[in-house]
């Protein structure tokens, strides 16, 4: 508030000082009364309802504050009690039993019961944005007042991920909210530490959260109020941080140097793979893409190091893999599997019967970091081996998704947020898969996914199975991974607890006032 004193008269200054003193007294009397955390996000949520919430940052910040997940993924990646205090697969891995926290309540004051959780999970399985998490769940039932059992049609070790704060399926909405789903666009009914203040919230401008009076652990409610401001302009974010209007902001690699120069702290961790997804593996639109040698040629033709150095700097790393170091499935031996080698790429094209190259159209997915520039660099690299690519930009997911649904385009750029290797396999190369818009079937990929599903993700056997999938996906490419990018947070020194890893994504419920 330093800017006030330069404008106002001495009398007004006295009045302001009196007000400030009064405010200071109030703060002293109630240490937490003015504790507001203001966060800047570059985009608003599609809605506040976790049923339709997107994942990744910043989308998960909005539901994370208000909806306690059944399983809480700690910053170190371990699964810990959330609304469920413990959970277990049966010996045959065909059922998953969760025991719920006794005494937990939704923000409307009603208790969290097995019936409420069952109603939510059934709702999410039918209407959720990531309903694939529950695709193998054949039955959901209350097996006690505080016990829920999921029956599985086939083993699925991903449930603890689908039910954590990044998966969305575990963000239980209370019965009152479920009875009026339209209201969930502007109000909340979760059992998380905060709840939305609809009166102070302005769609796509600021989202104001206040304490949930029924939250089971008040010691984790670090702030009286949390405000998420939507600031799309990088300059405005930096100015807001520098002037103290915002304490934490979603950062961008292109702004990192300026943020450092401004005295801000930077937190980062590998967060996503950016590259190209080839949907037309069967060659229905572009016959050349059916040949694996052609897809390998497309990988060899890319100067990843050059692209990373010019577009992503130290917060990007060239990659031809689908998970980063530290996630099960990553293999050092696969690093630089496709070195920049246009000659080899041309030879592979010739071997596949395309010595003069071929043409195809590449759809640009919105919201890929520096995506337009990356796409142009790819076009230039591929042109060098005779492959002519026409770019088709899209401005929003509301345009992009139906465009891909037309099945007229063989490939698209993409951002793929990291979690575990099985997510990559199941969402990219199996049938069905989230990205498999052309409906191709790769039996080897399906078998490798099945093998992974039979093991616990973190077990040695699970990691070995993940490595097998990763190896297959790299050696028999259906994608052209280009860069592994970091997620960044810029913050003032007033906030602690911001360290995060690849997964879970940064979570504002962990952020607390610095001592």
């Amino acid at each position: 508030m330093a800017y006030r004193s330069t404008l106002i008269s001495p009398t007004a200054r006295l009045a302001a000082a009196a007000v400030s003193l009064g405010l200071a007294s109030a703060i002293a009397a109630s240490p937490a009364s003015s504790a507001t955390l203001t966060i800047a996000a570059t985009a608003g949520p599609t809605g506040l309802d976790p049923t339709t919430s997107s994942n990744g940052v910043p989308s998960v910040w909005f539901p994370n504050l208000t909806y306690a997940a059944l399983i809480w993924r700690a910053p170190d990646g371990t699964a810990q009690p959330g609304l469920a205090t413990d959970w277990k697969y049966s010996d045959d891995r065909l059922s998953f039993v969760m025991n719920l926290r006794d005494g937990a309540k939704f923000s409307d004051g009603s208790p969290v019961t097995a019936d409420a959780v069952v109603a939510w999970l059934k709702h999410y399985k039918e209407k959720g944005s990531f309903t694939a998490w529950l695709a193998n769940v054949s039955d959901i039932s209350a097996t006690g007042p505080l016990q829920v059992t999921l029956k599985l049609s086939t083993p699925d070790p991903m449930l603890p991920y689908g039910l954590d704060q990044g998966g969305m399926a575990g963000d239980v909405v209370g019965p009152k909210g479920l009875a009026d789903v339209t209201s969930l666009g502007s109000t909340t009914d979760g059992a998380g530490p905060y709840m939305i203040d609809p009166g102070s919230t302005i769609l796509n401008n600021q989202y104001v959260y206040v304490k949930n009076p029924y939250y089971w652990d008040p010691s984790k409610q670090y702030w009286d109020k949390i405000v998420i401001k939507i600031i799309s302009d990088g300059n405005s974010i930096r100015s807001a941080l520098k002037t103290g209007q915002v304490q934490v902001a979603e950062g961008a690699a292109t702004e990192a140097d300026a943020a450092t120069a401004a005295g801000l702290k930077i937190y980062s961790a590998p967060s996503a793979m950016l590259g190209v997804y080839i949907g037309d593996i069967d060659g229905k639109i572009t016959p050349a893409l059916k040949d694996v040698r052609v897809r390998q040629a497309l990988n060899f033709a890319i100067d990843r190091k050059g692209i990373v150095s010019s577009l992503y700097g130290k917060y990007g790393k060239p990659t031809d893999q689908f998970v980063p170091q530290g996630i099960g499935g990553y293999l050092a031996s696969l690093e630089d599997f496709y070195p920049y080698d246009p000659a080899k790429a041309k030879q592979l094209l010739a071997d596949a019967g395309y010595p003069n190259g071929f043409d195809f159209t590449l759809v640009e997915q919105p919201a890929v970091s520096s995506g337009d520039l990356m796409a142009q660099a790819l076009v230039a690299n591929w042109k060098d081996i005779g492959v002519n690519v026409t770019l088709k930009p899209t401005d929003s997911f509301a345009t992009y998704v139906p465009l891909m649904g037309t099945q007229k385009y063989p490939a698209t750029t993409l951002t793929f947020n990291y979690s575990v290797q099985l997510t990559d396999t199941q969402q990219l190369v199996t049938n069905p898969a989230l990205y498999n818009y052309m409906g191709f079937t790769d039996k080897t990929a399906d078998d490798l996914a099945s093998a992974q599903r039979k093991q616990d993700i973190q077990s040695p056997e699970g990691i070995k199975a993940a490595e097998a999938s990763e190896t297959y996906m790299v050696e028999t490419p259906g994608l052209v991974p280009v860069v592994s990018v970091d997620a960044l947070l810029f913050a003032t020194k007033d906030v602690a607890g911001l360290d995060f890893t690849t997964y879970p994504w940064s979570d504002p419920t962990n952020w607390k006032p610095a001592q």
């Binding site: 694939a132 666009g185 799309s232 405005s236 100015s239 002037t243």
Partner: protein
């Protein structure tokens, strides 16, 4: 009599505009390739989910039916509900209207007062001053408001922490901080307008001051002050007001950029966000609000220019 006939014709024309603009907007949005259901549910959306969503919001109806339903509700002031958060469009836009009006009316006041003062001074204070204002005018028109906004923030919010870098304070919360939060956005939005109004004022004033009737007044012993501020300014006013109206309407589009940079919760920033989310009812509501603003401003300009034009005032 002529004044009232002219106004009546303008108001009837405005009503037509109020129907035509939202209609065109509706059909352009209706045929755009965006699909709000797929935007909301993403790549994982099943046909059943999309069908349920579309049915709930009436999007499974033919476009013409949806339009007629929208129109029937719109004439009663009901613009539907936001596809994104389920609130009524009026609820979404009500707080934003006051923000946008504060911004563009603030900019209007600034570019009017500053532009006219600068224009009159440059017309009456000799060649060198006039040339300086010419150069400043050219720069002012050339400087984009987003660039100016960034510079203003760098100087007056970051280097000299006088004004807030971003954000908006509602008048009801604090009149003082309300004005403070508007200063930089208003200046950024008004700057090009100041120079345009100044240039128009200067040119019109020079024409008036050098006109035969001004020479006659001087020959009859009228003071220079009276000629400039009583007679010339009034004669120059009509074209200046027309330019001011054009700038005011143009500032609606300028506000989209300025609101985004200063993170103001106005109609402009909402229009951009809603268009990207394919939240068509909100976009449509904003189109109606903007059309009403344009219509009202045009009517006011017509009244002002009619009053200032003696030929129109004659019976």
């Amino acid at each position: 009599m002529k004044l009232f006939r002219s106004l009546a014709a303008r108001i009837v024309g405005s009503l037509v505009l109020l129907l035509v603009v939202p209609t065109i907007t509706y059909f352009i949005q209706g045929v755009s390739p965006s699909n709000v259901a797929k935007g909301v549910f993403g790549l994982d959306a099943t046909d059943a989910m999309i069908a349920d969503f579309n049915h709930r919001l009436g999007l499974d109806q033919p476009l013409i039916i949806r339009y007629l339903q929208w129109l029937a509700h719109a004439v009663t002031g009901n613009f539907g509900i936001s596809y994104i958060n389920g609130q009524s469009v009026q609820q979404v836009l009500a707080p934003r209207l006051s923000v946008s009006l504060s911004l563009i009316i603030g900019a209007f006041i600034v570019f009017t007062i500053a532009g006219i003062i600068i224009g009159v001074l440059s017309a009456t204070r000799g060649r060198i001053v006039g040339r300086i204002f010419d150069v400043i005018s050219t720069i002012g028109i050339a400087v984009p408001n987003f660039w100016l906004a960034v510079i203003l923030v760098a100087f007056f919010a970051v280097a000299l922490p006088i004004f807030p870098a971003t954000g908006y304070v509602f008048f009801s919360d604090s009149p003082y901080f309300y004005f403070l939060s508007l200063v930089l956005p208003v200046v950024a939005l008004a700057f090009a307008g100041i120079t345009a109004v100044a240039k128009q004022t200067r040119d019109q004033m020079l024409l008036a001051i050098q006109s035969p009737w001004a020479r006659t007044l001087r020959a009859n012993g009228a003071s220079e002050f009276s000629i400039v501020y009583k007679h010339a300014l009034r004669n120059a006013a009509a074209p200046v007001i027309t330019v001011m109206g054009t700038i005011f309407v143009g500032s609606l589009s300028g506000s989209v950029v300025v609101e985004n940079i200063f993170v103001l919760p106005g109609l402009g920033s909402q229009s951009l966000a809603s268009a990207l989310q394919a939240d068509l009812p909100v976009v449509q509501g904003i189109a109606v609000y903007f059309t009403i603003i344009v219509v009202v401003v045009n009517v006011i300009i017509d009244i002002a220019t009619t009053i200032l034009n003696p030929k129109v005032r004659e019976p």
